[in-house]
C-alpha cells in the first residue's frame, strides 16, 4: 500500500516534470503550438511502473550489500572465471570463434566487428591508465587521433605504408602522452580529469585550425588501406584482411596488457590507484609510475588509431570529440575497471548494441545514457569485476610434498 | 536518562564496540575513560547516529533512539562536542554559535543562550566576528562547547575536550563543564583520555579497553583504583 502511494506520487511528479517538454511542442519559427496530451498518460503509466522496479532493485542491492558485509560471496560466473583452466579453454574457444566469424558472416558484420575491436583495444589502453593506475583521463581520444593522423599524414606526404606506421603511430602517441603527462602529474583526481578534457579539446581545435599541417576540418581522404604484398583487394577482401589484422592486434594487446598487469610495473599501477601515499612509502617512484601508465595507455590508442585511419580511409577532426572519450571511458567502467575480459565485453556491448539497435536509432543514445546511470547504481563493479591474480609459490609445493 | 544496552558497532568488517552497555542518569557527570583507540569516540558516534550500532539499543528516557538520523537525535536533546572540536573553519565565531542553535526557532531563547555562553566564555564575545579556523586550540574548544550549548542539550556529550590543550586551559575548561552541569542541570557524558582530570570532575566513571567496558565505579574510587593506571601505563 505504501509502495502504491509512493508510486502515485512519483508518477505525479514526473508528469509535472516532463510536462513542458513532453506535452507541448512549440515551433517558434513557424509559430505553431502542438499539445500532446497522450504523452502525459504514457509518462504517468511508465513512471508508475518504473518506480516499482526501481524500489525493488534498490532493495535487492541493499540486501546484497548486507550479505557482502557479513561474509563475502561471489557470483558463479566469477568463480568460474577464476578457474585458470576454464579461462584458457574459454579463450581458445573465443579465439576460434573470432577466426571463423568473418567466414560465416557478411562484410557488414565484419565492418561492425572491426569497429568493436577497435574499441576493445582503446578500452584496454585506457584501462591501463584509468582501470589499473586510477588516472582519470577524459581526453583519451587525443591519443587515438595522434595515431590516426600520424598514419594519414605520413601516408599522404611520404607514401609510407600501414605496416611501417603501425608502430610509429603507437610510439608518437606514447611520446605525446609523456609530454602531456609531465606537467599534470601532480594533479589529483578530478583536476586531472578536467585538464585531460581540456587537452582533448585543444587537440581537436588544433586539428581544425592548423590547416597547413592537418588539412583542417575537411580532413584527409584516400588513405591507403593496409597492403598485403601489393595484392589488389576488393572491399570484401580488404575488410576481411583488416579484420584479421584487428584480431591479431587485439590478441597482441591482451597478451601484453595482461603481462604488464601481472608484472612488477602493473602491480605498482594498481597500488598507485589504491593508495598513493602508501605506494610511495613502499619505495615506488610515483612520477615514473604514473607517467608509464599514461604513456602506455596512449601507445595502444596510437596503434589502433593507425588502423582506424586505414580502415575508414578518411579522417577528420569530427572523429575525435569528447563523446568518443566518454564512450571509451564508459567501456572501461561498464566492463569492469581493471578487468581485461570486462573491457572486451564492455566494448562489444557499447559498440555492437547501438549498431544492432539501428532500428531504434533515435532512442539508442537515450538508452545508452540511461544504461550508464543504471549500471553505476546497480552494478558499479562493472559486468566483470577484477579477477585476483594468484601466484604460485614453488616452495609451498615442496613443503607439502615433504610433509 | 541515557541508556546504552549491549551495542555492537562495526566499521565495515571491523568490530569497534563489543557489547557495550552504560547508563547516564539525569544531572550526572559520567566519564568514559580509556587509552587511545579503545572505542570511546565510536561509542559517542553510535549514540549520535553517525555510526549506528548493528545490534543493541540506545534509549533516552526510556524511548529508543537507535536508528534515528543524526539530526533527529540532536532534536531529542543529545548534543555532542566532538573530538578535535570540529569548528566550521570558514564561518565566524558568531555563525558557529548560530549553527549550534540550528534546530531552534524561539529567537528570544536563543538570544538568551547566546548571552549565557558569552558570559561563560567572555573571550568569544571578543572574537565574535573572527573566523573559527583562526582561533587558538583553547578558544576553539570553548567555541565547540558553546556551540553545543546553543542547542540547549539535555545530555551533553564531550569527546576529549582536553586534547592538545595546555594544562591551565584544560583546568579552565573542566571548571566550566562543572559549572554548566550545576547551573543548567545539564547531564554530561564525558569521554576522556586524561583520566585524572576527568575522574575528579565526574560522579561516576567507566573504563574502556579494546571496545569493551572493563570497569565501572564511582569516580573517586576509580581514581584510587590501580587497574586504571594499568590500563594506561601498562604497569
Amino acid at each position: 500500500m505504501q509502495g502504491f502511494k509512493q508510486s502515485i506520487l512519483v508518477s505525479i511528479w514526473f508528469v509535472f516534470l516532463t510536462f513542458p517538454l513532453m506535452a507541448v511542442r512549440v515551433n517558434t519559427a513557424d509559430r505553431i503550438v502542438e499539445w500532446r496530451w497522450m504523452n502525459m498518460l504514457w509518462v504517468a503509466v511508465a513512471s508508475f511502473v518504473l518506480s516499482y522496479a526501481w524500489r525493488y532493485m534498490l532493495a535487492r542491492k541493499q540486501a546484497r550489500n548486507k550479505s557482502e558485509e557479513s561474509g563475502q560471496q561471489q557470483g558463479r560466473v566469477q568463480v568460474l572465471l577464476e578457474d585458470m583452466g576454464f579461462r584458457y579453454r574459454a579463450m581458445g574457444v573465443l579465439l576460434v570463434l573470432a577466426l571463423i566469424f568473418p567466414l560465416v558472416f557478411d562484410t557488414y558484420q565484419n565492418t561492425i566487428m572491426i569497429s568493436a575491436l577497435i574499441y576493445v583495444v582503446l578500452g584496454l589502453g585506457l584501462n591501463i591508465s584509468v582501470g589499473l593506475a586510477g588516472l582519470l583521463d577524459l581526453g583519451y581520444v587525443a591519443f587515438f587521433g595522434v595515431g590516426a593522423y600520424s598514419y594519414a599524414l605520413l601516408n599522404h606526404h611520404f607514401d609510407l605504408g600501414f605496416w611501417a606506421i603501425l608502430p610509429v603511430g603507437g610510439i608518437l602517441s606514447c611520446l605525446f602522452g609523456v609530454v602531456l603527462g609531465f606537467p599534470i602529474l601532480r594533479l589529483r583526481g578530478d583536476y586531472l580529469a578536467i585538464v585531460t578534457l581540456g587537452f582533448g579539446m585543444i587537440f581537436k581545435v588544433v586539428l581544425e585550425n592548423w590547416s597547413d599541417f592537418t588539412f583542417g576540418p575537411s580532413g584527409i581522404a584516400n588513405i591507403d588501406k593496409p597492403g598485403l604484398f601489393g595484392i589488389d583487394m576488393n572491399i570484401d577482401g580488404s575488410t576481411l584482411y583488416i579484420y584479421y589484422i584487428m584480431i591479431a592486434l587485439v590478441v597482441f594487446t591482451i597478451l601484453i596488457t595482461n603481462r604488464l598487469r601481472n608484472s612488477r610495473i602493473g602491480r605498482a599501477w594498481i597500488a598507485l590507484r589504491e593508495d598513493e601515499i602508501a605506494c610511495v612509502a613502499m619505495g615506488i617512484d610515483m612520477a615514473r609510475t604514473k607517467l608509464s601508465a599514461y604513456a602506455l595507455g596512449a601507445f595502444w590508442a596510437g596503434m589502433v588509431g593507425v588502423l582506424f585511419a586505414a580502415k575508414t580511409t578518411f579522417i577528420n577532426p569530427a572523429s575525435f570529440t569528447f563523446m568518443e572519450s566518454a564512450i571509451i571511458l564508459s567501456i572501461v567502467v561498464l566492463g569492469g575497471m581493471g578487468s581485461i575480459l570486462g573491457v572486451i565485453l564492455g566494448a562489444f556491448i557499447l559498440i555492437l548494441l547501438p549498431e544492432y539497435m539501428r532500428a531504434f536509432s533515435e532512442y539508442r543514445m537515450l538508452a545508452f545514457g540511461a544504461a550508464m546511470v543504471l549500471m553505476m547504481i546497480f552494478r558499479p563493479q562493472g559486468i566483470i569485476s577484477n579477477i585476483r591474480t594468484k601466484y604460485e609459490y614453488k616452495g609451498l609445493r615442496e613443503e607439502t610434498d615433504n610433509g | 536518562m541515557l541508556k546504552i544496552n549491549n551495542i555492537q558497532t562495526y566499521y565495515g568488517n571491523i568490530q569497534a564496540l563489543k557489547d557495550v552497555s552504560l547508563e547516564v542518569k539525569e544531572g550526572e557527570i559520567v566519564t568514559l575513560i580509556g587509552a587511545n583507540g579503545a572505542g570511546k569516540t565510536t561509542t559517542l558516534m553510535s549514540i549520535c547516529g553517525i555510526t549506528p550500532p548493528r545490534t543493541g539499543d540506545i534509549t533516552l528516557d526510556g524511548d529508543s533512539i537507535t536508528g534515528l538520523s543524526a539530526e533527529k537525535i540532536v532534536q531529542q536533546g543529545i548534543v555532542q562536542v566532538p573530538e578535535g572540536r570540529r569548528i566550521f573553519p570558514d564561518m565566524t565565531v558568531f555563525e558557529n554559535l548560530e549553527m549550534g542553535a540550528f534546530l531552534r526557532t524561539n529567537k528570544q531563547l536563543v538570544q538568551q543562550d547566546l548571552n549565557y555562553v558569552m558570559t561563560l566564555f567572555p573571550i568569544l564575545e571578543k572574537r565574535k566576528n573572527q573566523l573559527g579556523g583562526t582561533l587558538s586550540g583553547g578558544e576553539q574548544q570553548m567555541l565547540a562547547i558553546s556551540r553545543a550549548l546553543m542547542a540547549r542539550p539535555r545530555v551533553l556529550l564531550l569527546d576529549e575536550p582536553s586534547l592538545g590543550l595546555a594544562p591551565l586551559i584544560i583546568k579552565q575548561i573542566f571548571d566550566i563543564i562543572k559549572q554548566i552541569n550545576k547551573e543548567s542541570n545539564t547531564t554530561i557524558f564525558l569521554v576522556e583520555q586524561n583520566a585524572n582530570q576527568a575522574l575528579k570532575l565526574a560522579d561516576r566513571g567507566y573504563v574502556m579497553e579494546n571496545g569493551a567496558i572493563t570497569l565501572v565505579d564511582d569516580a573517586d574510587r576509580l581514581l584510587e583504583n590501580d587497574d586504571v593506571r594499568k590500563a594506561y601505563l601498562g604497569l
Partner: protein, 265 residues
C-alpha cells in the same frame, strides 16, 4: 660497554604548519638492534614526526641523518618518500593503508618493488630473468607472510582480512622493502589482547632474527613497556622525557602527560 651504532639520528626536528608548530625541536636516536618507542598523548605530534622522517613532509628545521652500516651517512630532509624507503627505512601507517583491492600476497609483493628492477620492456618479453625475479618476489613475499602468520590468507583480498591481520600485513609489506630500520605507527591499535601479545612476539622476532631496528609509536603501554628500550615521550610537539621503561614509568612529567595533573589529588 661500547657505544652502539646509531642508525637514525634526528637532531632538533621542527615542523610548522602555518602558525602551528606540530613538532618542536625533537632529537632522537635509534641504534642498531634497538626497539625504540615514541609515546605521548593524542595530538602530541608523533605521527607528524614520522611523516617528517619518512619524507611525506619536509621538516621546517633540523636534521634527519641515516647512518647505514658500512655506508655513508645520508641526510633525509626533503627526500621523497620512495627515496627514503630505498635507503632502508620502511614504515607502517596509523590508519591502515593497505592496497585494499589487491590480494594479501600482492600487497607484500609491492614492497619488493624497490628491490627489483625489471622494466616495461622486459616485463612484456617476460624473459627468463624476469620470470626468475618474479618467482623470487613471490617467494620472499610468501616467507614474509609466513613470518607474520598470514600465509593461509595469501590469496584473499586485503580488505577482507580482520583488523589485527591487516596490521600485521602492513608490517610484512614494510619488511618486504628490506629495511634496516622499521617505523611502526601504532601497530597495536584496535587489536585485542591476544593479538597484541602475538604482535609483541612478532616485533621481538623481527628485531632479533632479522636484525632490524624498530621505532614504534604506540598507545598500548603494556606493549611498549614490555618490548621497547629506550622510550621517548612527546607532548605538545616537544620531547619531554626519554629513558628506559622504568625511568619513564617513574617520571612525573610522563604520568602527568598521560593521566593529567595530579598535584592536588
Amino acid at each position: 660497554m661500547a657505544e652502539k651504532h646509531k642508525l637514525l639520528e634526528v637532531k632538533g626536528l621542527t615542523m610548522d604548519f602555518g602558525g602551528l608548530r606540530a613538532v618542536d625541536s625533537v632529537s632522537l636516536d635509534v641504534c642498531e638492534g634497538e626497539i625504540a618507542a615514541l609515546i605521548g598523548p593524542n595530538g602530541a605530534g608523533k605521527t607528524t614526526f614520522f611523516n617528517c622522517v619518512t619524507g611525506i613532509y619536509t621538516p621546517t628545521k633540523g636534521d634527519i641523518l641515516l647512518h647505514p652500516k658500512g655506508l655513508d651517512t645520508r641526510r633525509l630532509n626533503g627526500l621523497k618518500p620512495n627515496r627514503v624507503t630505498e635507503m632502508g627505512l620502511a614504515r607502517t601507517f596509523q590508519n591502515i593503508r593497505l592496497f585494499a583491492d589487491m590480494t594479501v600476497l600482492e600487497n607484500v609483493m609491492i614492497g619488493r618493488h624497490c628491490r627489483t628492477k625489471s622494466g616495461i620492456f622486459r616485463s612484456i618479453l617476460r624473459s627468463k630473468g624476469v620470470r626468475q625475479e618474479e618467482q623470487e618476489i613471490v617467494e620472499v613475499s610468501y616467507q614474509l607472510l609466513k613470518k607474520v602468520g598470514l600465509a593461509d590468507f595469501a590469496n584473499e583480498f586485503a580488505k577482507n582480512l580482520p583488523y589485527g591481520a591487516q596490521r600485521r600485513l602492513e608490517i610484512a609489506r614494510a619488511m618486504a622493502t628490506d629495511p634496516f630500520l622499521l617505523l611502526l605507527d601504532e601497530p597495536a591499535a584496535g587489536m585485542n589482547p591476544q593479538e597484541t601479545a602475538e604482535l609483541d612476539q612478532l616485533i621481538c622476532k623481527i628485531s632479533e632474527q632479522d636484525r632490524i631496528a624498530i621505532l614504534l609509536i604506540e598507545h598500548d603501554m603494556k606493549l611498549v613497556m614490555n618490548i621497547s628500550n629506550p622510550i621517548y615521550v612527546m607532548e605538545y610537539g616537544k620531547k619531554i622525557a626519554e629513558g628506559s621503561p622504568q625511568q619513564i614509568k617513574d617520571n612525573p612529567k610522563v604520568i602527568e602527560a598521560y593521566l593529567g595533573e595530579e598535584t592536588d589529588a
